[in-house]
Subunit: 107 residues, 2 copies
DNA sequence: AATTCTTACGACGGCCGTAAGGATG
DNA sequence: CATCCTTACGGCCGTCGTAAGAATT
């Protein structure tokens, strides 16, 4: 289960529909349908099911939900750590090629 | 930072070298080099640096390490939840197309 | 000199949007 | 019949391994 899987899984679980999840993540319905299919094939199990009221978590999906939410929380924490940092790297031991590459990017 | 990023980051941090990390993940050195470059460009910051003793974490990398390890732990927990489950889905409310698709996969 | 890292190149695979069709209520 | 979901198609972008060269010790 990669990180894109986790995002799709959470979006569908929250929106209760593929179309809603797709809207939320800025992709097409068809894309979300393929993502769910691929996700469940990779997992080898169903995590979400279509009901008269839209997509709902299976018992296994419920079990996975907590893990997925914690992964999301960690990912968000990393974003916070990383964003808005000084990338100047002054004084860092670093090969010349890396220096120039990163410098190019920073500029 | 997606899940593949996390795996590469952890592998490099643990092996202290790109070649060792590549060996561990079953890819080429060149692939690991590109992954680290892409990872740090996406992050907008350096997380690992080359030192006389090999690759070591920057202070920011140290800060991220804990998050990465927790993400890994959650991912492993999901694997455990998902593997070896019964995928028979008996009695599940499910569209006919989904039924047949999953049935095909299970068989 | 041996090991390690970088990068240009060509190829392959995966994922996407579009569009058309089927299911659902 | 309006909405939602599925899927074949064609194209594009990303990632890979190879291979050759530079850096480091």
């Amino acid at each position: 289960m990669d990180w894109d899987d986790v995002r799709s899984f959470l979006a569908i679980a929250r929106a209760r529909s593929l179309s809603g999840a797709a809207r939320e993540l800025g992709v097409r319905q068809s894309t979300m349908s393929r993502r769910l299919e691929a996700l469940e094939l990779r997992a080898g199990a169903r995590l979400l099911q279509r009901t008269p009221r839209g997509y709902e978590l299976t018992p296994l999906g419920e079990a996975v939900l907590g893990n997925a939410e914690r992964m999301e929380a960690e990912a968000i924490a990393v974003e916070r750590l990383v964003q808005g940092r000084d990338v100047a790297l002054s004084g860092v031991v670093c090969s010349a090629t890396n220096w120039m590459r990163i410098a190019r990017q920073s500029g």
